[in-house]
Point group: C2
Chain length 246, copies 2
C-alpha cells in the first residue's frame, strides 16, 4: 500500500494534472501505421504508409507555428491542419485513387489512437486524487473521440483550441489553470517532451517528465531523458500514480 | 432489453447530449439547504438558511443578465457572481460573524451539489452510446468539482465560461456544437427548463425536456411540463437512456 504522506510531499499543493497527449498518453506512430495499413489493404490501396505517417507528423510543428506566428489570420484547429498536410503529402506521393471519403477517414485516424500500456491504469488511479485532463494541441472533438476509443478517463478536456493558442504559447498553460480556478503552481504538466515542460515551468506550473523513447520509432532523436529541473521524473503513468500515493 | 433500432429512431442523427446542470442533473436547492444548515450548526451560526438559498438563487438570473447586457465589461464567471450576491444577502440579513473563510466555504457549496436519484445511472448508460457533457452556466471549476463530488461521468465539461456567453445566448449552444465538430442537429440539449430548450431549438439543436417539479420546492411556479415542440419528453435520465436504447 502506498505511503500517502510521503507521496503527497513529492508534489506538494498540486491539485490537477494536465497531460500532453500525442506521444505522452497515446502511441500516435504505432497506432496510425497499423490503422492506415489495415485500412489500405482492405481498400485495395498501395503506398508506404510508414513514410506517410512520419512525413505527416513532420508537418505538425511547422503547421502550428504558422498559426502561432499569424494570430491575425485566426486560429485553425488541428483537424484542419492535419487535413491540409495530408492532401499535400498524398498529392506528392505515388498514391492514387484517394476519394474525399478516404481523406476524411484517414484524417480521423488521429481520433483513433491507442494508449501506451500504462496510460489507462495510471490515469484511472490518478483520477481518484487529482483532476486529470489533457492539455493537448489536438482539438476538442479529436480528444473526445480518442478518449472514447482508448478509454481515457478524463475529468474534462482542455485543448489549445479552447484557448485559441497552441502550446508552447503561455496562453494555453495559464488558460488551463484559470479555467480550473487554480494557481499555476497547483497544476502539474505531465509530458514526454522537455520543451513542453520548459514552457509550462516558465508559466509557474509544476512539471513531470515521462520518457517515451519509442514514440518516433527509429527516427527518435530527442527526449530520451529529462533535460530540465522538473518537479518529478517517472518511468510511466503507473509509476506517477505510485509516486503520488494514488 | 431495449429495442436499439426503435430507440435510435427517436433521436436520429444525434451524437452528443448536452445537459443543463442546475435543476436538471443536480438538486441545487435541497443540497444547498442541507449543506448550509449542517455547516452552520457545526459552526455555531444562526440564520434562515432556506430563505438565504432561495434569495441567492433569485439573484442568479439577474446577475447573469447584467453580464449578458454589458459585454464591454468582460465576462464574469458564476463563482464570482454567486460571491457578489452572497455578500449582499448576508449583509442584509441578521446573520453575524461571517468570516472570509466562511464566505469561501459557503460559496463553494455550489461545487458540492448532489445529483437527482436517476442522474448518475442515466448518464452512465447514455455515455456508452453518446458523448455526454454539461452545457451549464456554472463555471468550469465548479462543474469539475461537482462531477467529482457527485460522480457525474462526463466525457468533457462545456460551460458558458468557455464561450464567454451565458445561456440563453446562442454563442453558448453553437460554440458547443462547433467544439464537438458536430452540426447543431447532431447535438441534443437536455433540460428541465423550457426557455433553455427554446433557445437551443432556435440554434438548430435537438431538444429533450425532463420535468423536475420539485426543483424550487414550494416556490416552483413553472416548468412542471413540456411547453414546446421538443424532440423528446422523458420522465428522467434513466427513461432517456431507455428511449435512446442505451
Amino acid at each position: 500500500m502506498p505511503d500517502r504522506d510521503a507521496a503527497t510531499s513529492s508534489a506538494p499543493g498540486v491539485k490537477a494534472l494536465l497531460f500532453d497527449v500525442f506521444g505522452t498518453v497515446v502511441d500516435w506512430r504505432g497506432s496510425l501505421i497499423a490503422d492506415l495499413s489495415a485500412w489500405a489493404q482492405a481498400r485495395g490501396l498501395r503506398g508506404d504508409w510508414g513514410a506517410l505517417v512520419d512525413a505527416w507528423r513532420a508537418a505538425y510543428v511547422p503547421s502550428m507555428d504558422e498559426v502561432r506566428r499569424h494570430p491575425e489570420r485566426g486560429f485553425v484547429n488541428l483537424d484542419a491542419l492535419h487535413r491540409q498536410s495530408l492532401e499535400r503529402l498524398v498529392a506528392a506521393q505515388p498514391i492514387e485513387g484517394f476519394t474525399e471519403a478516404d481523406f476524411d477517414h484517414v484524417n480521423r485516424g488521429w481520433h483513433r489512437l491507442d494508449p501506451w500500456p500504462d496510460s489507462v491504469s495510471g490515469l484511472t488511479r490518478l483520477k481518484r486524487k487529482f483532476i486529470v485532463s489533457p492539455l493537448s494541441n489536438g482539438n476538442v472533438a479529436l480528444l473526445v473521440d480518442m478518449a472514447k476509443h482508448a478509454g481515457l478517463p478524463w475529468d474534462l478536456v482542455l485543448s489549445a483550441e479552447v484557448f485559441q493558442h497552441y502550446k508552447p504559447d503561455p496562453e494555453s498553460y495559464l488558460g488551463a489553470a484559470r479555467l480550473l480556478g487554480l494557481q499555476p503552481a497547483e497544476v502539474m504538466m505531465v509530458a514526454a517532451h522537455n520543451n513542453d515542460l520548459e514552457a509550462a515551468q516558465d508559466c509557474g506550473l509544476a512539471t513531470c517528465f515521462v520518457p517515451r523513447p519509442t514514440e518516433y520509432g527509429p527516427l527518435q532523436k530527442r527526449d530520451f531523458k529529462a533535460e530540465g529541473d522538473w518537479t518529478l521524473v517517472v518511468r510511466d503513468l503507473d509509476d506517477l500514480a505510485d509516486r503520488l500515493g494514488c
